[in-house]
């Protein structure tokens, strides 16, 4: 063992040296260093914890803010939508009212104009009849029975002969609405007669409207759907002209 160098004295010296070093280093180095390490670690952990809490708080605040913002935005959008709807509704109402007003006014004006024209035309009718009779008397040289003459003339204008509508004789019509066009306004009785005749042909549910168009000169034109029964003088004249050619 001596040659290996194992020597009790040196061995004990090394053990003592180690013990002394443990004590000295523990007192001067390990204790303060480990304490400061632990303190630093605690501080870091504390800092991390603080940061985490702060981050959490901020996150919460952000979430809250986002929620509030979203709510406000929703509310604002709803308000705007409601307002827009209301405004649109109001505008629609106004426009509809205005349109209705305008339509009514125009209708009124049209009706008035029609009435005026019809009145003028019916005034004219009497005069035209008188003129026609006078001219005929001058031409024929004999006085016709005035009553008969009137009847003839009325027949001419109204196309109604002995209470029957001439154009409807033997014609088959069907439809929901009929329009009766005359050169001069028909009298009430004539209208009634025409209406009755037309309805008799077409059935009770049909409606009949009257229109005045001086360009047909005389007689009646009855339009039912796309079917036109032309008993007007203009058409007869046209037919005459065609046959004369």
């Amino acid at each position: 063992m001596e040659k290996l160098g194992i020597n009790l004295g040196f061995f004990i010296f090394q053990v003592l040296n180690f013990t002394v070093m443990v004590i000295l280093l523990y007192a001067w180095a390990y204790k303060p260093i480990v304490r400061s390490l632990e303190k630093r670690r605690e501080k870091i952990a504390q800092g991390m914890e603080d940061a985490r809490v702060a981050a959490e708080a901020r996150e919460n605040a952000e979430k809250e803010a986002a929620k509030i913002l979203a709510e406000a935005q929703g509310k604002a959008a709803q308000l705007i939508r409601e307002a827009t709807e209301r405004a649109e509704a109001a505008a629609k109402d106004v426009r509809a009212a205005a349109e209705a007003e305008i339509a009514k006014a125009r209708e009124n004006a049209l009706a008035e104009a029609e009435g005026e024209r019809n009145r003028l035309l019916s005034d004219l009718r009497g005069q035209v009849a008188a003129l026609a009779i006078a001219a005929a008397q001058k031409l024929v040289g004999e006085a016709l029975d005035e009553k008969r003459q009137h009847a003839l003339i009325n027949e001419f204008f109204s196309g109604v002969k002995a209470g029957k509508v001439v154009v409807l004789e033997g014609a088959e019509v069907s439809g929901a609405a009929a329009e009766v066009i005359s050169a001069l306004p028909l009298t009430k009785d004539e209208q009634e007669a025409v209406k009755k005749d037309v309805l008799a042909k077409m059935g009770k549910q049909a409606t009949v409207s009257f229109r005045v168009d001086p360009s047909i000169l005389g007689g009646l034109v009855i339009k039912v759907g796309d079917k036109v029964l032309d008993g007007s003088v203009a058409a007869q004249l046209e037919g005459l002209r065609q046959s004369l050619k």
């Binding site: 160098g5 010296f13 090394q14 180690f18 070093m21 390990y30 303060p32 260093i33």
Partner: protein, 349 residues
């Protein structure tokens, strides 16, 4: 330009220094006078006495190196103490490195010892720091080369050459070019080769006994640490578990109740006692073997090829010094913390 030129310039300076050292090594080993030539080492296991004595206790060269290591560590510790008394902040420079090492050790011990870490830590950390510092210090030039010249009594010595005279003090070196065969005692004066034995030389066939030698190359140092560690393992075992700790070694319960397997377990328990002694052996010889072999390798390779190769080996030695310190520390930590945990408990994990 200046910012780019600086590192380049420094690089050139370093290159020049390294090449100069190489040239110096080549000159000393191959061209220069024979006194500069490296000498192949004498393998000596036991620590050599430097001639100093304190209260009759001889100071060997390894003990001197141990004391040097201690002084370095104590200076560091005092600086650390002064620093940490003032502040909790991390220090700067060398102390920071010291703190980093201590922190690393502390984390390792905490990881394996748990709540016993505070009690185990001073022991294992001192083991690490002592071995680490000793291994680093022994690489400083001058270790194992500066010393007292002494007469050899057998084998080959070398003729002494005086280098410097300062008053009464003379600086000697030995001349590799003039090996001298050592003769039997008593005749040495007569057989001294006259032309080479310089005036006033203390010896004729000389060898150098270094003042400082690596601590771990003294077998007493690793064995002192190993024995202390293993003894402390038992102490910690009893401290943590009470008398139950010894059940690991003497499993009488198993012997009585366990049948044939109980007898086997009892035998295994007795083997654990042997294992404790084996621990001392492996602890001690591992450190000693590694460091001693490293030192031997360095000096032999240095004697064979004086240039460039030893530099790489020095680097290797630094690495091994750290690794051996860490291994010793880690094993001590594992054994000490293992002793604080009940044996049967451990097996279930």
């Amino acid at each position: 330009m200046s910012s780019e030129a600086k590192p380049k310039k420094r690089f050139h300076i370093k290159t020049t220094i390294i090449l100069g050292l190489f040239a110096l090594g080549i000159y000393a080993a191959f061209i220069g006078p024979s006194i500069l030539k490296p000498i192949s080492p004498v393998v000596v296991l036991p620590p050599e006495e430097t001639g100093l004595e304190v209260f009759g206790f001889p100071i060997t060269n390894t003990i001197a190196a141990t004391l040097l290591t201690d002084i370095l560590l104590i200076i560091l510790a005092i600086f650390a103490y002064r620093h940490y008394r003032r502040s909790e902040e991390a220090p700067k420079g060398l102390l920071n490195a010291f703190e980093a090492i201590v922190e690393f050790l502390w984390n390792t011990v905490q990881g394996s010892a748990g709540k016993w870490a505070k009690r185990i830590f001073p022991i294992v950390a001192t083991i690490f720091l002592l071995i680490f510092t000793a291994n680093m210090v022994k690489l400083v030039p001058g270790f194992e080369s500066i010393g007292r010249i002494k007469q050899v009594h057998e084998g080959t010595g070398y003729a002494p050459v005086a280098l410097l005279h300062i008053g009464d003090f003379t600086l000697w070196t030995i001349d590799k070019g003039h090996p001298v065969e050592a003769e039997a005692h008593g005749e040495e004066h007569a057989t001294a080769t006259e032309e080479h034995a310089a005036e006033g030389a203390p010896c004729t066939a000389c060898e150098v006994v270094p003042f400082l030698r690596g601590t771990a190359t003294d077998i007493n140092f690793p064995f002192a640490l190993a024995v202390t560690t293993v003894l402390l393992t038992q102490v910690f075992g009893v401290w943590a578990q009470g008398p139950k700790y010894f059940e690991k070694f003497f499993q009488f319960k198993q012997l009585v109740n366990g049948g044939i397997f109980g007898m086997i377990n009892f035998g295994v328990g007795l083997l654990e006692v042997v294992l404790e002694f084996a621990k001392i052996l492996s602890f001690g010889f591992r450190l000693f073997g590694n460091i001693f072999a490293g030192a031997l390798l360095l000096s032999i390779v240095g004697a064979l090829t004086a240039v460039a190769v030893p530099a790489g080996l020095y680097l290797f030695e630094v690495f091994f010094g750290v690794i051996q310190a860490y291994v010793f520390f880690l094993l001590a930590t594992i054994f000490l913390s293992g002793a604080t945990v009940a044996h049967g408990h451990e097996e279930h994990h």
